[in-house]
């Protein structure tokens, strides 16, 4: 037991190095990283590296926008799965509620259009409130369940949302909602958020991601984060120590739902069209795979996971070995990549230190040496 690193401060690796740097170096690096992220849409113009990153024949800025909402979803799911330790297999449900909320309030196809027909920005707070309510409604009866049972119920939730969306006339199934307005704003007489250029949407996504990171970080380093961690490690001990376990699990669900809803709202605003085909179950599984692969319980890991799950399949487009088009095998290759990562790094690519240790402890329990 005492052989493992006795303190976080003594950790090696990149993060250990980072932790030893003076505060201004860290801020400078964060700033540089942020600026680089905002400049990503122009990566294709960078000689040598550019062509390697960008997939030919794919609109790079659209791909980046896709990455941004996947990252958002990974961050939200990370709160639920990584921090509070609640296995949610139906996370796409919240994404759907956010997107449908926006669509119902803004699209001319909506039955509410006569009364609302709002602008995108007006619909956002209502749609987000709706997803939080959905999170609480799902969590209230189900959070008394633990582990696998919770996973099954959440799985059911996402399917219910999808099936309701498919089969009710109000939600229009396959026909979906068209002409969902874009986010507001104009620059030199031209609307910022147009139809052809996805870069502004990517930037908007980035801004939202940064705000989410700051918010989640604040929560993590407060009694809320401590409560989540305590619940994850020993729920009964946490309760005996005065933690209102149910309340904090519900908050984790509501916050996760909120962030998922943000992704949905953003998605609806960019695509301008949504239908029930978008919100399939694979989507939930994919995001969860991203979180676990990146390193659950750690925001950097979740972000990396979110990037990988949307970037890898896209990158395979147009690549071929001999006569075989790799894109056709993208899911197989992707699955292979996940398996390899999970075998080599079961704690994820950028694991939370705590999560990694919890995993080690459990390994010892399973296979004592």
């Amino acid at each position: 037991m005492s052989e493992t690193a006795s303190s976080f401060r003594e950790n090696g690796g990149v993060r250990g190095w980072l932790g030893r740097q003076p505060i201004w170096v860290r801020w400078l690096l964060i700033l540089a990283g942020t600026v680089a992220a905002f400049l990503l849409p122009y990566a294709e113009h960078v000689p040598l590296i550019g062509p390697q990153i960008v997939t030919e024949g794919v609109d790079w800025s659209s791909a980046l926008f896709e990455i941004s909402y996947y990252v958002l979803l990974a961050l939200g799911l990370n709160v639920v799965v990584g921090y509070a330790g609640l296995l949610d297999l139906g996370y796409v449900g919240f994404f759907a509620v956010g997107a449908y909320g926006t669509a119902l309030l803004t699209s001319p196809d909506s039955i509410l259009y006569e009364d609302t027909g709002w602008k995108w920005l007006m619909a956002v707070p209502v749609a987000l409130a709706l997803t939080m309510v959905a999170g609480v409604l799902l969590g209230w009866p189900t959070l008394r369940l633990r582990g696998d049972y919770l996973a099954i119920v959440t799985l059911g939730f996402a399917e219910i949302i999808r099936i309701v969306a498919t089969s009710t006339t109000t939600l229009r199934g396959d026909r979906g909602f068209a002409s969902i307005p874009h986010p507001p704003g104009s620059w030199g007489g031209e609307p910022i958020f147009g139809v052809t250029d996805a870069i502004p949407y990517f930037w908007l996504g980035l801004v939202i991601i940064i705000l989410v990171i700051l918010g989640v970080r604040n929560l993590d380093r407060s009694r809320v984060g401590r409560s989540w961690l305590a619940i994850r490690e020993d729920e009964e001990a946490a309760e005996v120590m005065g933690v209102r376990t149910f309340k904090y699990k519900l908050w984790a669900f509501a916050i996760g739902a909120f962030i998922g809803g943000l992704g949905g709202v953003l998605f609806a605003g960019e695509q301008s069209f949504i239908n029930s085909q978008t919100f399939v179950l694979q989507f939930s599984i994919l995001v969860l795979a991203g979180v676990v692969m990146g390193g659950s319980g750690n925001m950097a890991g979740a972000i990396l996971g979110g990037v990988l799950i949307s970037y890898i399949p896209n990158r395979l487009r147009g690549l071929s070995v001999g006569d075989t088009d790799l894109y056709e095998y993208r899911f197989a290759l992707f699955g292979l990549a996940i398996i390899v990562i999970m075998v080599l790094r079961p704690q994820g690519l950028i694991p939370s230190r705590r999560r990694a240790m919890e995993l080690k402890d459990r390994e010892k329990e399973v296979a004592p040496q």
């Binding site: 006795s6 303190s7 409560s227 490690e233 001990a237 705590r354």
Partner: protein
Amino acid sequence: MSEPHQETPEELDRENARPVDRPAPTGGRTAEPPAETVRDEDVLLEVDHVTLRFGGVVALNDVSFSLRKGEIFGLIGPNGAGKTTCFNAMTGVYRPTEGGIRFQGESIVGKKKHEITRGGIARTFQNVRLFPEMTALENVMVGADAHHKTSVISALFRLPRFWREERSGRARSLELLRFVGIAHRAGDVSRNLSYGEQRRLEIARALATNPTLLCLDEPAAGFNPAEKVELLQLIRKIRDTGVTVLLIEHDMRLVMGVTDRIVVLEFGKKIAEGTPAQVRDNPAVIAAYLGVPTDAA
């Protein structure tokens, strides 16, 4: 309540040798004595005719006793006597099948565990249950959070209350770590602490919830004699800060050395109550611990 039972010769024997302050357990509620001259306002926690059954097993059978403010109270008995069950009933983990438990005059039966904790009863676990990947300081801060009011919103936006409580909680937690003597391990992950340090950390975490009553479930288990002496000192120190201590213990010497009063359980029943000296000389207790010679009956 309990079925009226025939007194065996053994029990009658115990009666004769019973210390002065406790009348005969004739069974049944009516005969329950005004156990001692305890004034009501002195009573902190009252276990009132508690029976707890698990299916057909009677884990606690009509057990009654009360804790007074400011004392160190021992709950002892041989293995399987129902000590931990009793303890769990008092901290809200189990709900008594019959009977009541009152803390500061208020019933705590059916209350949630976290409510009971915030109400002033803190506990440790028989087998240490810390949050293993949190640092020692963070563990204690979870306890301190029990009385904090920082909401999710004020944590999210770092409102003044967040800073205030975070600062005071941190200071208080460090002070408690110093109090139990492991301040130097504050930044270490609790799983890397030694066994003795972990036990102390658990006590610090429980104290952080600001308890009126601290319940320690076999805190000396696995300790060597030197560590036990230190633990005794710590328990006294805790009492001196005004906290009432309930101690479940196996080690008779430790219990005798530190407690003011003791209740002895055997097979879910209370068989003796009194000062350490009284309990030590009680033949029923001796019989429970050492067994009865066959010729005694």
